[in-house]
């Protein structure tokens, strides 16, 4: 098992004929992801270089292929449109890779898509190693196993996963939830899903300064996952307050979102916090060892 994604998930790619969409479709296919087709308005009836059918609308794509999962590579102005089109066509799972989606578009989408699981936007996607990869993650650093991982960042996730894999700690599912102010799936959403997954025995949470997602995750862990071995990490401890660094997520405002507040919340929930990514595997092994 794994969360959100397994071998049977039928994926379609919105924006499949664009350069990013086409390139990453190829990568996902070679990883073994079950991609059944794609959507690009105006190019319906064509076949992609990978031999996949292209449709004009999501509705057609779903009817012809039975697709259940959407992966979005369209430009920022069209991302909300793509999400809502999929919702109307009955899709209830979407991964939005697009960076730069207006926050008001996501406010509207969030209010209009009850029951839809959206990962992102502005995220690297997710992977259930050995089963399926949806997004832009480099498949070769992952290895199938029992550790679930949730992260707000992209490249830092790969760094952490690389360390886990080298230490022999494979992963059940790794979710890059994205760094925008409004994201479809939070730490707590993922924790809920992981809590029900028999394959997942331990968890790694890679947080970041800004927002209060980590604090909420810590509260959830305290109540529902106190027996699960979990290790946390907070990126950006040396960032200056009040300034955005890179993407919108990493901003400290007021007393919320400081690294101290996040670390304290994790520790209060019994979650050790690694000082650096390279410490995560050993901390996790310790936690796993204690339980055995």
């Amino acid at each position: 098992m794994s969360i959100y994604l397994d071998k049977s998930s039928k994926i379609f790619v919105q924006g499949i004929t664009g350069s990013e969409g086409s390139y990453h479709t190829g990568r996902m296919l070679s990883y073994g992801t079950n991609i059944v087709g794609g959507v690009t308005p105006g190019k319906g009836g064509q076949k992609t270089a990978h031999g996949l059918p292209v449709f004009d609308t999501v509705k057609e794509c779903v009817a012809a292929t039975g697709a259940t999962h959407q992966c979005i590579f369209v430009p920022p102005a069209g991302a909300a449109d793509a999400l809502l089109e999929a919702y109307e066509a009955g899709i209830r799972f979407s991964v939005c890779i697009t960076e730069g989606v207006p926050v008001h578009d996501m406010l509207r989408v969030a209010g209009a898509t009850p029951g839809m699981r959206i990962i992102g936007p502005n995220c690297p996607g997710l992977i259930s190693p050995g089963k399926s990869l949806v997004g832009i993650m480099p498949g070769h650093v992952f290895k199938e196993g029992n550790v679930g991982l949730i992260s707000r960042s992209g490249t830092l996730t790969y760094e952490v996963v690389d360390g886990l894999t080298r230490a022999g700690l494979g992963q059940s599912t790794c979710v890059g939830i994205g760094g925008d102010p409004i994201i479809g799936t939070t730490f707590v959403d993922c924790l809920r899903a992981f809590a029900e997954d028999p394959q997942t025995e331990a968890l790694v949470l890679c947080g970041e300064i800004g927002g209060s997602d980590e604090e909420e995750a810590a509260a959830f862990i305290k109540r529902h996952l106190s027996d699960t071995p979990i290790v946390g990490f907070i990126g950006g401890r040396n960032a200056p307050p009040g300034k955005s660094l890179g993407h919108a997520g990493a901003i400290i405002s007021g007393s919320f979102g400081t690294p101290q507040s996040k670390i304290a919340a994790f520790q209060a929930a019994g979650v050790p916090v690694a000082d650096r990514p390279s410490q995560i595997p050993e901390l996790l092994k310790e936690r796993l060892g204690v339980r055995v």
Binding site: P102, V103, A112, P138, S153, L156, L245, G246, A250
Partner: protein, 389 residues
């Protein structure tokens, strides 16, 4: 994009939020001419993005045209003093001349995007006119929130409830629902991330007016509002933002800190992780730099020159987690960039992983650079080199 007070108040007017009568002026002469035509008690306010104008002496009163000219000159003579967030200060290029209001009470009202509920959140406290973060520390219980269901939208009952729950002075009650409607309207009409009225003043003659305006528009949504191009052009970039833009980076992708270890990474998360690694190794960081997507020769060269010429870096730590990027290509890019640059040379420590990483490290070593395998190892080497330099 953060707006200046006069720009924010222009949007307030368009959305029916009452503001004191005012005039935007570019020179002391403009100020004098306006007051000469409109006798009365006026306040002259520096138009800058930095906070703390009052304390910096950048808000002054004037009762005559001559006084107006004098205080305007004083305010514009010096830039806003530097603070922790803006170490280069900010020049005063224009002024807002505004009707003086007799203050009975000051409150605070804002609307912003709430991450947790994924809704717009209207925030009210009866403590206005001070730094909101300070209020949050001293009177956290005074904050009242309403998370608006966008399917329902804003209705007056929401404003009535907020005014009541926040225990706003009775004088606010009647007018507050319309003001909350105004900020809700503004928030959606212009794609704002934050609309803040601090203070929301109850005047001695019973009016409720927005005495200041702080608005942050969503940069990602600006393409829908070409009308703001003109305003954007007059907004100051701080020095780091300007340098980033000149190097072809996003304005938030570069920031300086004054240490001796220059850093570069691909992705904001890894860039922050790289700074943390340098700190962990006992070093002081010269800068944050997220190079973004690819690391081709031109990009690497721009970044190298940016760090070498504008920070105190004695060593440059490049941390690339290839993911899908090919290590040998990145290595070639770095070597080419270093051949082409005309800036002074400082040692490079390069951590490189990804497809063909061994080949990449070989190319770097042949070019006399220091390739390392892990982030921690790279940080350690960089800190040692900086200490020895």
């Amino acid at each position: 994009m953060n707006l200046m007070e006069y720009q924010g108040k222009e949007l307030f007017k368009r959305c029916g939020i009452p503001v004191p009568r005012s005039q935007h002026c570019k020179t002391p002469d403009d100020v004098a001419a306006f007051i000469a035509k409109n006798p009365g008690k006026w306040v002259v306010k520096a138009q800058v993005l930095m906070g703390g104008r009052g304390k910096a002496g950048k808000i002054k009163f004037a009762a005559t045209a001559e006084e107006g000219r004098t205080v305007a000159r004083e305010i514009m003579a010096t830039p806003m003093p530097p603070n922790r967030q803006n170490p280069s200060g900010e020049a005063v290029n224009s002024l807002l001349v505004e009707e003086t209001v007799e203050i009975e009470k000051e409150a605070y009202c804002a609307i912003t995007v709430d991450r947790a509920s994924k809704r717009p959140s209207i925030i009210v406290t009866r403590f206005g006119g001070m730094d909101v973060e300070e209020v949050h520390e001293k009177h956290p219980e005074s904050f009242t929130y309403h998370f608006v269901d966008t399917a329902i939208g804003y209705w007056p009952f929401i404003g009535r409830g907020l005014a009541f729950d926040a225990e706003l002075d009775a004088g606010y009650r009647k007018q507050f629902p319309a003001i909350a409607a105004g900020i809700y309207d503004l928030f959606f009409r212009y794609g704002a991330k934050l609309v803040e009225i601090n203070p929301l003043v109850l005047t001695k003659d019973g009016r409720v007016v927005a005495a200041d305006a702080k608005i942050e528009l969503d940069d990602d949504g600006l393409f829908r509002y070409p009308e703001f191009k003109e305003w954007q052009a007059v907004l100051p970039l701080d020095e780091d933002e300007r340098l980033a833009a000149e190097a072809g980076l996003g304005i938030r992708n570069f920031r300086r800190f004054g240490g001796t270890v220059g850093t570069l990474a691909n992705g904001a998360g890894l860039a922050m992780g790289t700074m943390d690694a340098v700190k962990n190794a006992g070093g002081e960081i010269a800068n944050f730099l997220d190079v973004g997507g690819g690391a081709d020769a031109q990009r690497v060269r721009n970044c190298y020159e940016l760090v070498v010429n504008h920070t105190a870096a004695k060593v440059f730590f490049i941390n690339i987690f290839g993911g899908i990027t090919r290590g040998d290509e990145v290595a070639k890019g770095i070597v080419t960039a270093m051949k082409e640059t005309t800036s002074r040379k400082i040692p490079l420590v390069i951590r490189l992983t990804g497809t063909n990483e061994e080949e990449g490290r070989r190319i770097l070593a042949e070019a006399g650079m220091t390739p390392v395998q892990t982030m921690d190892e790279g940080a350690k080497r960089a800190v040692e080199l900086a200490a020895g330099a």
